[in-house]
């Protein structure tokens, strides 16, 4: 990616392009990855409420997995899941 020069940037680091944080792939930071056991999952969506990075994929009110492009691997979903359906496994395994 070519980085912009000072003269090309909005002053004061103001972001004028609403929602562009999507373009910032925080998934690169992950050292552990969440893995779902759908047999245990009761689709309560607690993980979706807690995920700080909007990385829980929900379809028709069902938990469908993780948006790994942005999941930082923080493990909050795993801790919050009431039925222990999410395990954190080291990346690279």
């Amino acid at each position: 990616m070519t980085l912009k020069s000072a003269s090309e940037l909005t002053i004061g680091a103001v972001i004028t392009d609403a929602g562009n944080s999507k373009e910032f792939l925080t998934g690169d930071w992950r050292s552990k990855r969440p893995v779902i056991d759908k047999d245990k999952c009761i689709d309560c969506l607690t993980c979706w409420i807690f995920c700080p990075d909007d990385s829980i994929i929900v379809k028709d009110e069902k938990m469908e997995g993780f948006r790994l492009s942005h999941c930082k691997g923080c493990g909050i979903c795993s801790v919050q899941c009431p039925v222990n359906a999410i395990q954190m496994v080291p990346e690279g395994n």
Partner: protein
């Protein structure tokens, strides 16, 4: 219109004429009269400013930044420990390019505790990306207060500005003041122009995002560029103000400098005393002059270098000391002189710390010592060692 008033009330009066949208305020001596008097104007309905009484100066500056980012004109005031408490937010304000106008009633920094004038507060904040202008008298404090809004909010600048006046010496002393008509002031400062305002709901923006290794330096470079470039904008605004008021303002004012062999450089009210001292010495045929510096940030190096070129000696008067080094103005002047061949000999006079009086007799001695070659590299005027 003429009135007799003190420096703080003059600042409050200028704000009344300007009617800023938001004034976040926390009182501190010797600034208190500014925010007290302005709160009277708010109470009496003479302005429609949103007056926010905050629980600390840190919060006052935070509100100022937020209101400015929201897209409106903001003024506030502080001094000494109040500015120290704002410290964290000063850099945020300039970094976020909020053109906040802040009156600073210069007061020393404790301890031991002391409420009187020196420039330790604003000089300590000289690296925070704020433009700084200083006043010699109540009239200049009033004029600067109006000028400040134009400079800060100029689209080529968009930086916060400190409009400084000497605590007590100017803030509390009554002097003659010639004020402009309200409409003249309103026309001069103009409508506040927004830049990416937070409250423009149809164009959503984010202010103050995380800015790391890949872009922070570029955003700081923008500030460097803007503050350096502001000098020409300041010149324009000063000239325009002269056309309006008939009062001439200088970035650096030369007083009897043309044929002077020895000049002093001073900031603030002492420059007024020094003019009287120069007059007195001129009667005795001494070729002395003074440079009164209004604009300290950005530092007008070239202007100073041109003014002192060819002089025999330069005494730099600092009402602050960078402890462990010299006065801050002395450092700047030396830096400016690097560009001159055969630069004059320069000495530093640190004076007036903690409000210590600097009477004409002592100030006169600066010139006499300089002419006799008796000045030390750094002199502490009137201190009992």
């Amino acid at each position: 219109m003429k009135m007799a008033t003190n420096g703080d009330a003059a600042i409050a009066y200028s704000w009344k004429q300007i009617n800023p949208a938001v004034v976040p305020a926390y009182p501190i001596t010797p600034q208190t009269i500014i925010v007290e008097r302005f709160s009277d104007y708010v109470h009496d309905g003479e302005v429609d400013t949103e007056y926010v009484t905050t629980e600390s100066e840190h919060s006052a500056m935070t509100v100022a930044i937020a209101a400015s980012a929201a897209g409106v004109r903001v003024a506030t005031a502080t001094a000494s420990a109040g500015m120290a408490l704002m410290w964290e937010m000063l850099g945020v304000c300039s970094g976020m390019r909020c053109p906040v106008v802040m009156a600073v009633a210069n007061r020393t920094l404790s301890g031991p505790i002391n409420i009187h004038c020196d420039h330790s507060d604003s000089m300590g904040a000289r690296d925070t990306g704020w433009i700084q202008i200083y006043a010699e008298n109540v009239q200049e404090a009033y004029d600067n207060s109006i000028i400040a809004f134009r400079i800060a909010e100029d689209m080529r600048v968009r930086l916060p500005i400190m409009s400084c006046l000497d605590g007590f010496i100017l803030t509390h002393a009554y002097e003659d003041l010639e004020v402009l008509e309200d409409q003249q002031v309103k026309d001069f400062v103009g409508e506040h122009q927004q830049l990416n305002p937070l409250l423009d709901l149809s164009n959503p923006v984010t202010h103050g995002p995380l800015d790391l290794q890949d872009y922070f330096f570029e955003h700081k470079y923008q500030v460097i560029d803007a503050i350096n470039g502001s000098l020409s904008v300041i010149k324009e605004v000063l000239d325009e103000f002269e056309a309006l008021s008939g009062r001439k303002h200088f970035i650096a004012e030369p007083y009897m400098c043309d044929d002077a062999d020895f000049v002093a450089i001073a900031i603030g009210s002492t420059a007024g005393t020094m003019k009287a001292v120069v007059d007195e010495l001129r009667v005795d045929g001494k070729k002395v002059g003074l440079i009164k510096l209004k604009v300290f940030r950005p530092f007008p190096s070239q202007i100073i270098a041109d003014m002192v070129k060819g002089k025999q000696g330069v005494a730099v008067l600092d009402r602050a000391i960078s402890l462990g080094s010299t006065g801050p103005l002395f450092l700047e002047v030396n830096n400016a002189l690097l560009s001159i061949e055969d630069s004059p000999s320069v000495c530093n006079y640190v004076y007036g710390i903690g409000g210590r009086d600097a009477p004409p007799s002592q100030l006169k001695q600066i010139y006499l010592d300089m002419m006799d070659g008796k000045s030390l590299p750094i002199n502490y005027l009137g201190v009992r060692k």
